[in-house]
Amino acid sequence: MTTLEILTMLVWLAASVTFIIALKFLASPKTARTGNLLGAAGMALIVLWTFFTHDATDPTATPGMFGNWWIIVVGGVVGGAIGWFAAKRVAMTAMPQMVAIFNGAGGGAAALVAVVEFLRDTETNPGELLPLAFIVATLLGAIIGSVSLTGSIVAWGKLQGFVASRPVSYPGSQIVSGILVVALIALGVYVAAIEPSVPLFLLFVVLALVLGVQLTMPIGGADMPVVISLLNSYTGIAVAATGFVLSNYALLIAGTLVGASGAILTQLMCRAMNRSLFNVLFAGFGTGGGEMAAGAAGEEQLREISADDAAVLMAYGKRVVIVPGYGMAVAQAQGPVRELMDLLLSKGVDVQFAIHPVAGRMPGHMNVLLAEANVPYDRLKEMDEINDDFADTDVALVIGANDVVNPLAREEGSPISGMPILNVDQAQNVIVLKRGRGTGFAGIPNPLFSNERTKMLFGDAKPSVEQLVAGVKQA
């Protein structure tokens, strides 16, 4: 080994350590930001090192980094500008979609690297079979990266509203997926063991892209966070496979690290919903129930309340618990919500927030939004912490949350059966702020709304909360 090769491997080691520390530090709000910056520094180190030394570490490379340095400069500037602007401009509410797109970009890059590498190797050794471990890793990088790319795009579309967020399926959809998987295996075996054919390899990539769409479309929008986490894990595995192909240990370690941590994170998210990953991926959660809820039955029983009456109820209560959901996020109501909290506190009302683990569309989504609105995080209570206190609560104010407070989850036979919920129905009064009379993301009716203690305040969450603020001021 030359000195430069040794140094290169030490740089890989240093970068890998920063990645591990970055994930480790993300476990606590105190160290999380430092960890992320450290990871970014490690990334900068390895990218710059590769750029300035690659030509020398790989003398067989033709025409070498200096011949193609413009690709990296142009690609880096274009990609860096897109990534930076997107990340700076995205609204906090659209964060899940943003993570999906960045993940798709990584998956796409991994698939492309596998394709370029395959093209190069078949060109240098025409007609020869590639070493088995090597071609297997290339195929893995191509298939997993492609699935991650198109799956992420579908997930993004579902959250952004460009693609129907309801599970989209057609008769025989799972058979088509099955055929795709069999075809992919057949093509993979052929390319690896019989003939390294470029057209067949490209067909393999195209089918993998289709598979990504095919697997994600039947999953409902409410489950997209789990899907994004899973696809994140996939991209990690694709990167690890690429690291193997390129004999780059930094890619191998970082990819495996993300693959494993993404898998456990996906598990944690499923557990918070009390569902198995299999159920999330294949059950078509929320397909039924839509018509059931759209029916007129029960709608007459909803009791409406004016904003002023609701404000009085809260202002003269001792304890108010606010339950935020995705409706608060889309309406950008977190600012007025904080104002409402401040006012109520100044009137001597105890105000707390009950955060369901999967409120919003990502775990922790509500925490991020409320933190953005300067709600002190000691007022945010997790479900287990606050669930026994609802009985002593004068007013539970539900802002755009639905499935996480649906008492049907306690009974058998509903798609959300067994999901732990917030015991909002035990509060003395429940005020529900809701945009319309439709069902929640999961498409299931919610008996909480027709409960006799519940009053509905229809309208977009932001003006509704602003009216509450005005009402509390006068009360």
Binding site: G79, G80, G83, A109, V113, V116, A260, M269, H365, A371
Partner: protein, 101 residues
């Protein structure tokens, strides 16, 4: 690209150990940090940009150059966007109760 058996096995060792590290490191993260964690892990796999650079270095046909360029663009979006967006989220967690920004 010919890997010796020793190199293959070394890679396997690294793979298995890194998988355990990833599992251990993440299994204790509180729910409220799941979103930033997902985003942070997302940024880490942006290291694929190094792979894109390596294949770009040897790209010699117009097709390979085009694909490598696209790979570098996508990889850079992943890295830069991933770390920036994670930082934006975490910045908001840093405020202590009472601080008003």
């Amino acid at each position: 690209m010919e890997l010796s058996a020793f190199e293959l096995l070394s890679a396997l060792f690294i793979l298995v150990l890194a998988a355990f590290v990833g599992y251990e490191v993440v299994s204790k993260v509180p729910t409220m940090l799941h979103t930033p964690l997902m985003s942070g892990a997302n940024a880490v796999h942006g290291v694929i940009v190094v792979g894109a650079m390596l294949v770009a270095a040897t790209a010699d046909t117009p097709i390979a150059i085009g694909l490598a360029l696209l790979a570098v663009i996508l990889g850079t979006i992943n890295v830069v966007g991933g770390f920036t967006v994670t930082d934006r989220m975490l910045e908001m967690f840093k405020r202590r109760p009472g601080d008003r920004g």
